[in-house]
Symmetry: C2
Subunit: 214 residues, 2 copies
């Protein structure tokens, strides 16, 4: 079990018991979250963008177009970025308004953006990203052409300065409130994948692949 | 129909057709999203945090503890922040790996953090926040005491410099790929609220309120 070293930026000061620096915990959150937000500084002001990502080993990969202004900014200066990935797991309904909360799992990562120039690393990142979004998909699709590869920029972020924050379980109320006639508990939240909708332009006779059947 | 004015920061340069500056569209995304990420700059570097929020009129409200380091930082300097709220609506499965995408609705908002000092505005924001997370809840709960109100800091952000970005619909493939024997379509994603789990410490006989029954 590896623990990441706390830094000034990753030490959780507010409700520190919810903090985790455990590698396995952090990897699991990064692997489940379908998107992240990537924040950076431009001319002294904060920017952020939601984007897909994938983890391989001790790096997180984000891809975009080589024409993307923000991607070019990030790699040109190997800018410091802050990535956050969050899953909302439930609404925590306490007896008091004050103790209402949410169950969640989040990761915040600080790193400098590096452009991936190694072809194999870039291929692997995009294949892993496709498989993360839809397990089983890569084997089926028409693979990228040389020009498509060239149109794609991939940024890597080292997973090193990182922390997770997690809340689970029932509400915590003040001792004297437990006797109130107020219902308390958790309403779970879950992101579900629905029944697939075929492209109206789908070629007749092409069946839904097994990995998309529910 | 009000359109927000585009600025250098909110003009969508990448796939501009997905951009929207329409007030109704932006409000609807802010009202549906259960959390946002708030990014700011500290000592020249980017930070961000996931947090709950609620919109009332032309302001977004974020609350936290008066002891929260980041909240105090933000209001002390009325710092510029960037807020993002995103809903993932589907995985877009194209015939080519390159044209895979996601359907999503996101808002990115730039504003300076202002501490809410007016008591009524603070009360209204916290009531609206509770009602957003769980419609019907506020009438039931034990209301905040004076000390609880004092322990809560609320920040407001003016909705003015803002844009939305939205993708909907089926995949778009290259013309020559439509004849391939590859299934294509959309896998919808939906955040569902599950059956509530009572607090193990629930007072016997307290029934689940109607607004939490499915």
């Amino acid at each position: 079990m590896k623990e990441f070293k706390k830094t000034d930026r990753t030490t959780i000061t507010r409700l520190p018991k919810r903090g985790s620096y455990d590698q396995e915990t952090i990897h699991a959150i990064l692997d489940e979250a379908l998107y992240c937000t990537l924040a950076w500084v431009h001319e002294g002001k904060p920017f952020q963008i939601p984007t897909g990502f994938v983890r391989i080993g001790d790096k997180v990969y984000v891809h975009g177009s080589v024409g993307s202004f923000y991607m070019r900014q990030l790699v040109a200066g190997q800018l410091p970025v802050c990535l956050a990935a969050t899953m909302m797991d439930g609404i925590v309904l306490a007896r008091s308004a004050f103790h209402h909360s949410v169950n969640y799992r989040s990761v915040v990562l600080f790193a400098n953006a590096e452009q991936v120039t190694d072809k194999q690393e870039l291929y692997d990142a995009l294949e892993a990203f496709t498989e993360k979004m839809c397990p089983g998909r890569w084997a089926d699709v028409r693979k990228p052409t040389d020009n498509e590869w060239k149109a794609t920029m991939v940024i890597s972020l080292k997973i090193d300065e990182v922390s997770a924050k997690i809340r689970t379980g029932p509400p915590k109320d003040d001792e004297e409130d437990y006797d109130l006639d107020i219902w308390a508990g958790v309403q779970p939240l879950k992101e579900l994948r629905g029944v697939v909708i075929p492209d109206p332009a789908l070629k007749p006779g092409v069946a839904i692949p097994d990995y998309l059947k529910q």
